[in-house]
């Protein structure tokens, strides 16, 4: 919890990315291409957030970057699968 409070500004940015992406996916539900673009932007933003956050923490490692890439890719695959089936 202490780490969370210390990094509250980082998490504000993260929650901003998540909320903006969520709003984009819902508000533009009539435009699949836009939704896919939003999902891709979300994945890239999440990876970027992870890299910047760990860089500022001075604990950025290749394993960490890989973890964010894989998590972001998995998230993108899940949202993309849903979008193409709506």
């Amino acid at each position: 919890m202490r780490a969370f409070v210390k990094d509250i500004s980082h998490y504000f940015v993260l929650f901003g990315i998540l909320i903006a992406s969520f709003a984009g996916l819902i508000l533009f539900s009539y435009d699949k291409n836009f939704q896919i673009a939003v999902s891709l932007a979300l994945a890239l933003a999440y990876i970027s957030w992870g890299i910047v956050h760990h860089y500022l923490h001075k604990d950025l490692h290749i394993e960490t970057i890989l973890e964010y890439i894989v998590i972001a890719f998995l998230g993108f695959v899940i949202i993309f699968s849903i979008i193409i089936r709506t």
Binding site: L14, F22, I26, H54, H61, Y68, V70, F73, T86
Partner: protein, 303 residues
Amino acid sequence: MRFLRLLRHLFIPHESNNQKAKLLHSSSLAILAVTLIAFQLVLGFAHRAFPKVLGYAANISPAEVIRLTNVQRTANGLNPLSENSTLDAAALAKGNDMLAKGYWAHFAPDGTSPWSFFLSFGYKYKYAGENLARDFPDASSAVTAWMNSPSHRENILNPNYEDIGIGVVEGSLAGADTTIIVQFFGTPLSGSPSIPVAQAKGNTTATPKPVPVPTLIPTPVPVAAATLNQSTIGASLSFISPFTSTKNISLLVTGILILVLSIDLIVVRRNRIMRIGGRTLAHLAFFGMILAVILILKAGQII
């Protein structure tokens, strides 16, 4: 015992998995992502190979759309609408016209209006209305979506209408497999239904022609064809909806990941485990947002 050890290895940080649930290792997550992609490829292949098992026209019968529409009307103190076979045929022609010309709109790209289908099938209207829906897994979801939209709701609950006609068509629209529901409302001009059904025969390609004088020819061939088409769709009921199966799989995967991440968060904090890796809280927020998207996104569009 061995099974419990395997579960612990997969879901709980422990020495066996280097203090991180095996499921959260990058390799496991990558395998999960590849599995989901493979699932989608299989689903796409199966839909093409077995269209009667995996399809988009899950349980959409015109009769059910009419029944649910009338349920809404009677619940709001209005008279139920009568199914009109001419409107059924006109609605089916409108649906086929959309597939043939590749548009998803009330008006065709060439300017053909929905009302021209009424007239070309010999339904002279005093009042007329149209609701459109596509890609819904069942009639209930489509009617619910219409009721949630003020303009479509206004059509369903319009006291001026007396008749209803439904057309359900399946096909490819702009390269995507789709099921379209066309809902026509009307009130005949004379107060009694004008049924120059035979006029419809030459107009099934939806070229609007004014119907000057209703010529009553007793063999309603186009209507019979329309009924056949629609019942065919009813017969090819899908047992598995690609949207529902994708949604369920996505919910399962995301739910498990959220659970494992929550366990990880608690165990790592409690045991003060130091390790190299991403922030569990950030991953939790990320998958929490994805869970919300899965729950909110629904199949189907209305206009």
